[in-house]
Subunit: 252 residues, 2 copies
DNA sequence: TAGTGGTCTAGACCACATA
DNA sequence: ATGTGGTCTAGACCACTAT
């Protein structure tokens, strides 16, 4: 290939993506087969194969052995929302982050947390409650439980300096996470700590994270409805969500 | 390869993934090079290349030409939440779906909708309001605007039979989507239509979708806070989010 | 200079679909 | 029987990085 030229498999991909985006190729339409691409463009079959295979894994087309390659139904995709780390979120906006650790001593352990972390209801868990602020304004109340044997020194951390999420990530890399997002009214304590108006609802994110193959942390993240939102952008296949992202860290 | 055996590039991938998941290979550790894999396993270089290349695109490793292949930092990933089509969501649960079209005639066009669809504030837009029910219980109020020239027959559809999302998808495949999730209190009309309790907040999803390179539809989806939640599961690289999903359709 | 990944080729054999 | 995708090989040339 000449200097500056794109690799041939890429050219093939772009050719086909172009036909799809102009509507020349509609969902479920048949895409040229490997051999047809070989004949039409002079590339080797392996090159045509790579182009079509990547288009498949990226979701543009579906391939059926023995049958052919077809433009994918975009319905096969899923919308996504990102749930970022609060400190990253604030840093992204170039705002000032601060935090206050609440006195959580003696607070009873939420049975849901015990269940989520698969420990007996009575078993002790590390717990911390923190108000996260953006430019001094409370934006999240984090109520977090951690498996003590996963992070024995968890409670010794200075959470003004390092977020629980960041500390847990430093203990061990994240393996898996589960989220649930709800709208709910805050109780009086949460409302006060987040300096919320009367009648203002919370956006509540519940998060459970895994490391070493077991759930190790459970957190409830309360956000003032008037000051927080989750947003997401979906662009069809080709835009990767996992891997190779220059964006913020994952929350733990 | 013998019958029933996995392809060799897959075996290689699983070998390396295994070393990563056991911790034998830590983030930023060097992964065997293509030539090393060739020597160690007897495969051809193209097969080793495919294994490593796919591990790269799936986010397990990072490759640097001239340098080597390294275990990826998992922090480069992002948490995601799925926003599904309401009818699919209900179908997934094997529940009964039903819908009621509200009389929306004469309702003023929301300036936010005009702005989102990039039309002048006075310009007319197709609009429909629908209550979606799961087993007869209201679970979503959809307030949707559609660019008339994108889907001229939009208002002629029987939305008891086909959801706006499904109809729009049939007009043209989805290109792009934007979501925002908020918690907010419903106004009295929404509260009544969703049969919500006093003081119960809404989970509000705002969605904008693109086709043919321009925004074509804007929707606000109101959900009773006590009866609806968004959930998401994140598993590190290897679990694909886009493409090849047997799950529900994308919302339009 | 030696090693790395990036690409490409021209064959090959296979299982599977369709006709 | 033909065509499709799925896989694999044994070479090759290149640009780049590190030493």
């Amino acid at each position: 290939m000449s200097v500056g030229a794109k690799p041939r498999y890429r050219q093939l991909k772009e050719l086909i993506i172009g036909r799809i985006s102009t509507g020349e190729l509609q969902p479920r339409d048949r895409v040229p087969s490997e051999n047809e691409l070989v004949d039409a463009t002079g590339v080797s079959r392996m090159t045509a194969n790579r182009a079509l295979r990547e288009l498949d894994s990226e979701g543009y087309v579906e391939r059926v052995a023995g049958v052919g390659t077809f433009v994918a139904d975009f319905k096969a995709a899923s919308h996504v929302l990102e749930v970022r780390n609060i400190a990253d979120e604030i840093a992204l906006r170039d705002h000032e982050y601060s935090a206050t650790v609440l006195d959580g001593a003696g607070a009873p352990i939420d049975p849901e947390a015990s269940a989520a972390l698969k420990v007996k209801p009575g078993d002790s868990l590390h717990r911390v409650r923190i108000v996260h602020r953006e430019n001094g304004i409370p934006i999240q109340l984090e109520d977090r439980y951690v498996l003590p044997d996963f992070a024995p020194d968890f409670l010794k951390q200075d959470f003004d300096e390092i977020t629980p999420s960041a500390y847990l990530s430093s203990v061990s890399p994240l393996q898996e996470a589960e989220h649930v997002v709800r709208a709910a009214m805050p109780d009086t304590q949460i409302k006060r700590n987040l300096e919320m108006a009367d009648g203002e609802p919370c956006l509540v994110v519940t998060r459970r994270t895994w490391a070493h193959g077991r759930p190790v942390s459970f957190a409830r993240l309360y956000h003032p409805g008037s000051r927080f939102e989750l947003s997401g952008h979906y662009a069809p296949p080709g835009t990767k969500v996992f891997g190779k992202r220059p964006t913020s860290g994952v929350g733990m």
